[in-house]
């Protein structure tokens, strides 16, 4: 019984009532309805994108959620939906993600944000999100991220999580590498995860891609230089 009631009410006013319900009928509210979810989806999709949420819809979605599109939460969300392309959600993806999160309204989703953010502190989830981000950000038919995208994405994902991320991005900026392929992208995470900030446990003969070898060399040279000049001063 309760679901039906709810369905009608959510269909009518998405924005106004949830607060009340939040207080009064917590248990009833938490149950999930596929139909409501589909309806919710419809509010963002447009015909020109074959029934998917396109860039315009996405912008609106973000606005309604009150987050920037660049927010990492959006990436986590996309990961939960297993979205194929950046800036697009299909109905299937939407339902998959929302079902997982048990969300069928913007308020519920809003409330889930903390959970989503918190899930990033789990290293397995984070790694999956990180890996997902690569494929998600690829442009059609291209096998590697161009340098700018890679740096932006890395900034989004690793800034604050890896003490060397700033240096790495700086290195990437000035290096001769034109972009990052999947292997390099994956390994940067492993590197950030396993290698100490002072690089003392880095093994040059290990399997690290050359990109990381060169980063380490670059970093060591730089820190040598700074320490030398420091002495001179």
């Amino acid at each position: 019984m309760p679901p039906r009631k709810k369905r009608s009410s959510t269909a009518e006013n998405e924005v106004d009532k949830p607060k009340k319900r939040l207080c009064s009928k917590k248990s009833a509210d938490s149950s999930f309805s596929v139909k409501r979810c589909t309806t919710w989806f419809k509010t963002y999709c447009s015909a020109e994108n074959d029934g998917s949420i396109g860039p315009d819809g996405m912008e609106k979605f973000c606005k309604d959620l009150g987050v920037e599109p660049e927010n990492i939460v959006m990436l986590v969300l996309a990961y939960r939906m297993e979205a194929k392309h950046m800036g697009y959600f299909t109905l299937n993806e939407w339902l998959k993600g929302m079902t997982y999160l048990q969300c069928d309204s913007i308020e519920k989703l809003n409330r889930k944000f903390d959970v989503l953010n918190a899930s990033l502190s789990d290293s397995v989830t984070f790694r999956n999100v990180y890996r997902f981000a690569f494929e998600f950000s690829l442009e059609n038919g291209i096998r590697s991220l161009d340098k700018t995208t890679a740096i932006e994405l890395m900034n989004l994902l690793l800034d604050g999580r890896w003490s060397l991320s700033k240096e790495f991005m700086q290195f990437l900026e000035q290096s001769k590498f034109k972009g990052m392929n999947k292997d390099q992208w994956y390994n940067v995470y492993e590197f950030s995860h396993h290698i100490l900030p002072d690089l003392s446990n880095y093994d040059e003969d290990g399997a690290w891609p050359v990109l990381l070898d060169e980063f380490v060399e670059w970093h060591r040279q730089r820190s040598n230089k700074t320490s030398e000049t420091g002495v001179d001063c």
């Binding site: 096998r143 590697s144 392929n181 999947k182 292997d183 390099q184 994956y186 390994n187 492993e190 003969d205 290990g206 399997a207 690290w208 891609p209 050359v210 070898d213």
Partner: protein, 811 residues
């Protein structure tokens, strides 16, 4: 039996031996009462027991058998029997009526007699009684069971005597050597006396002493007394040993000493059985000290060759010492001690200080000695070959490494390496006994240093071979050339980057073949077969292809000549074409140039001819490989100019006019400008100047003009004008190297895929290890990593999702 026995028992010595023989069996057999005993028994023992073999006589027999007395009586009684036997036919032995008794003070008197004799011996007087008499006296005493007492008495007399001698050794005034001499003479005298005494008391020695285990033989008793009373005295012993050691030290310091004295005294110590404890220990300590100090000092003072010569001398001296006076048991510790102090202790210093210098100066004898000395000590040879290896590496590096890339230096590299190899080979053969280990170490070291510099050694070796195989190299006979090639192959074997060698060798070979400058086909073929043997057919297939092309071209040209003779030729120009299979030969960048009409016509004729034979093939002309012979009319007469095709094109223009500008020539020939500049330089600024340049100068610049040199003179009729090639080789060089690297990338990729396909899953390190194993050229692991990443990117393989240093093959 008895008769023969008597006749034998006359001599003292023989007698003793006989008795010995007889006493033994009696001892064993008398108890069983066998016949052999019986036959002798009657004459020798007391009358009562002589008749029959009664029970109680058995007892007596046993006693006599145990006692030494029977011998003495034996002789006497048998003599009696003999005289009796002479008169009567039948020998009848009757019991004696009465037991013969000894005179009352017989023992006392006899001992007095013996004692006198012993004293006479001790005081070196002549003995009053005859020796035989004395001997018999001893025999008699023994027969009457007085042996034990006799022994004690004798010992007491000897001891007294020796004690009296002992004091002289405690005298302070004696000089070391005097002391030793005194000791020696005392010892000699003692030995002489003891021998004499023993001879007299031999019967005692052979019976009582032998049968009584608690006493020592007379000789040993003498030694015991001598040891206890003289040598064991601490003062005497210290003086003796000290004196000996001093004497030996003096000899070691080069003085001549009385070796006889040393020998005799050391024999004495041996005989007294105190050689080891009293002498050897101290001797070895002294040796240790001496050579320890000497080693330290001489290592400082002397050069290594002098030092090892000295060590050798020392070792010889010590062996001689062993031969002359030391006991053989000392050999091992003594030699070991010398080796340790003089060689082992200084092993590192020796090698560090001397080896490089000796190798450098090729001091074969010294090195042989060093090898021989070091082989004596533990780890000596190991250290030697390690040092040897590092010398080779160090020296070789100097030849190979060339930081400034100075071409002059690189030119000599191969010759230096060959000489160096010869030298090292010789040292190993002559000095190091052709030791397998050294040969291996040498190979390793060569391989190590040659590959310290990438590619260049391979390149210069290829060029060196070229210089030897090129025509005009008349300095060596065929056999010498063959031997040289063999040596070069040895160097070649060390090189990791064999592909670099192949690339340069191929390029040079192409030049030799195309310009017809190869000195001898045999030598070329021999080199080729050597390469094939070394690296397999895959390595040489292209080179062989080149030779085949040349042979085919010859046939084609024969056919073509006939063809031209049949169809009317447009001019009397000869054309010679080499058809080269693409892929076998180095790649040449094709150049478009304007050829004179006659040449183009000729090319067309050939193309038609060739295509008629082999349809479907594509012919591409390579003008930069061509060369021509031009006839030229100068004022001084006719000349033939042997020039490259480019030179020919330029020169042919002067048929029409006497003067052209650089631009005009460029326009007409379409030769590429840098090439043209070089060509003009060779014609106008080289040795044979068939053109004048205005303005004059070494370099050709834009705007220069060229005028035909009508006054050209040369002593030869046919003149070769060389192309200036300097710059081109550098460019070619880079190209060749680059191509080699590209080839290598493919090889790396192929190897990775091959390995992964076989193993399916491998860790990074395993894969790298396998790659190093498979790849025949030197690679850095970074390069391998790049290739792995590229293959991952192309989905030939994938990194494991969890463990990032593991790879999977993707089918």
């Amino acid at each position: 039996m008895p008769l023969s026995y008597i006749s034998q028992s006359s001599g003292l010595r023989e007698d003793r031996q006989q008795n010995e023989d007889i006493v033994e069996p009696k001892k064993r057999k008398s108890s069983s009462g066998s016949n052999t005993c019986n036959s002798k028994r009657p004459k020798e023992d007391s009358p009562s027991s002589a008749a029959g073999m009664t029970d109680n006589s058995l007892d007596a027999q046993r006693k006599t058998a145990l006692g030494p007395q029977n011998n003495g009586f034996n002789r006497n009684s048998s003599h009696i029997a003999h005289t009796k036997g002479g008169s009567v036919k039948k020998l009848v032995i009757k019991n004696l009526k009465e037991k013969p008794t000894l005179p009352a003070n017989y023992q006392q008197d006899t001992w007095e007699k013996l004692k006198d004799a012993v004293n006479a011996i001790h005081t070196q007087r002549s003995i009053n009684a005859s020796l035989e008499e004395l001997y018999q006296a001893v025999e008699n005493l023994c027969s009457h069971k007085m042996s034990a007492q006799l022994y004690v008495q004798l010992k007491a007399v000897c001891e007294d005597h020796i004690r009296s001698k002992a004091n002289q050794f405690l005298e302070e005034y004696l000089h070391r050597e005097q002391f030793l001499k005194l000791m020696n003479s005392c010892w000699q005298v003692h030995c002489g006396q003891m021998t004499m005494i023993r001879s007299i008391f031999l019967f005692l020695d052979r019976t009582f002493v032998l049968q009584t285990s608690s006493v020592t033989s007379l000789w040993d008793m003498g030694l015991d007394l001598f040891r206890m009373n003289i040598v064991s005295n601490p003062v005497v012993q210290t003086r003796t040993i000290g004196g000996l050691l001093h004497l030996i030290e003096r000899e070691r310091n080069g003085e001549a000493v009385d070796r006889q004295l040393l020998k005799s005294l050391l024999r004495m110590l041996c005989d007294l059985q105190i050689y080891k404890e009293a002498f050897e220990v101290q001797f070895l300590e002294a040796t240790d000290r001496l050579y320890g100090a000497e080693g330290q000092r001489l290592m400082q003072e002397r050069e290594v060759p002098e030092y090892i010569a000295h060590v050798d001398k020392r070792l010889n001296e010590e062996s001689e010492r062993l031969l002359h006076y030391l006991d053989q048991s000392t050999r091992k510790p003594l030699i070991f001690c010398v080796e340790k102090q003089l060689i082992e202790q200084h092993l590192h210093a020796l090698l560090q200080k001397g080896l490089d210098m000796m190798l450098e100066q090729n001091r074969v004898d010294d090195l042989a000695l060093l090898y021989q000395l070091l082989s004596r000590v533990r780890d000596g040879l190991k250290e030697l070959y390690v040092a040897f290896a590092s010398y080779i590496k160090k020296t070789g590096r100097i030849f190979v490494i060339n930081n400034d890339n100075d071409p002059e230096k690189d030119k000599d590299m191969v010759q230096q390496l060959l000489d160096f190899k010869d030298k090292i080979d010789n040292i190993i053969a002559v000095c190091f006994n052709k030791n397998e280990k050294f040969i291996n170490v040498m190979k390793e070291s060569f391989e190590n240093f040659i590959n310290q510099r990438q590619n260049k050694p391979a390149e210069v070796i290829a060029k060196y071979v070229d210089s030897k195989l090129r025509a005009g190299n008349k300095e060596s006979t065929e056999e010498e050339l063959e031997r040289l090639l063999d040596k070069i192959m040895v160097l070649f074997r060390f090189i990791h980057g064999k592909d670099v060698f192949e690339a340069f060798y191929k390029k040079d070979l192409a030049k030799r073949l195309l310009v017809g400058k190869s000195a001898s086909v045999d030598a070329e073929k021999s080199m080729l077969s050597k390469l094939k043997q070394e690296c397999g057919g895959g390595f040489t297939s292209k080179l062989e292809g080149m030779f085949k092309d040349m042979e085919l071209s010859k046939d084609i040209m024969l056919a073509f000549k006939q063809h031209v003779a049949n169809t009317k030729s447009p001019d009397n120009i000869e054309l010679m074409v080499n058809v080269l299979t693409m892929g076998y030969w180095p790649t040449y960048t094709p150049m478009e140039v304007n050829l004179p009409e006659e040449m183009i016509k000729y090319q067309e004729i050939f193309s038609k001819f060739y295509h008629a034979k082999h349809s479907g093939r594509k012919l591409q002309w390579q003008p930069n490989l061509g060369h021509c012979v031009l006839k030229a009319e100068f004022d001084a007469g006719r000349k033939e100019l042997q020039v490259s095709l480019f030179q020919a094109l330029c020169l042919l223009m002067f048929n029409d006019s006497n003067e052209f500008s650089l631009e005009e020539i460029r326009e007409a020939t379409k030769v590429e400008i840098t090439e043209l500049v070089r060509t003009m330089q060779s014609l106008a600024c080289g040795k044979a100047r068939v053109l004048h340049k205005s303005p004059k100068g070494k370099d050709v610049e834009t705007g220069d003009r060229f005028i035909f040199n009508n006054e050209f003179r040369h002593k030869l009729f046919r003149i070769k004008i060389n192309q200036i090639q300097m710059k081109e080789t550098q460019e070619e060089n880079l190209n060749t190297t680059e191509r080699v690297f590209q080839d290598r990338q493919y090889q790396v990729d192929a190897a990775i895929v091959r390995i992964m396909k076989m193993r399916k899953t491998l860790t990074h390190n395993q894969l790298i290890a396998e790659l190093f194993d498979q790849l025949k050229f030197p690679v850095k692991s970074t390069d391998l990593k790049k290739r792995i990443e590229s293959l991952i990117d192309r989905d030939y393989m994938a990194r494991d999702k969890e463990t990032s240093n593991q790879y999977h093959y993707i089918a």
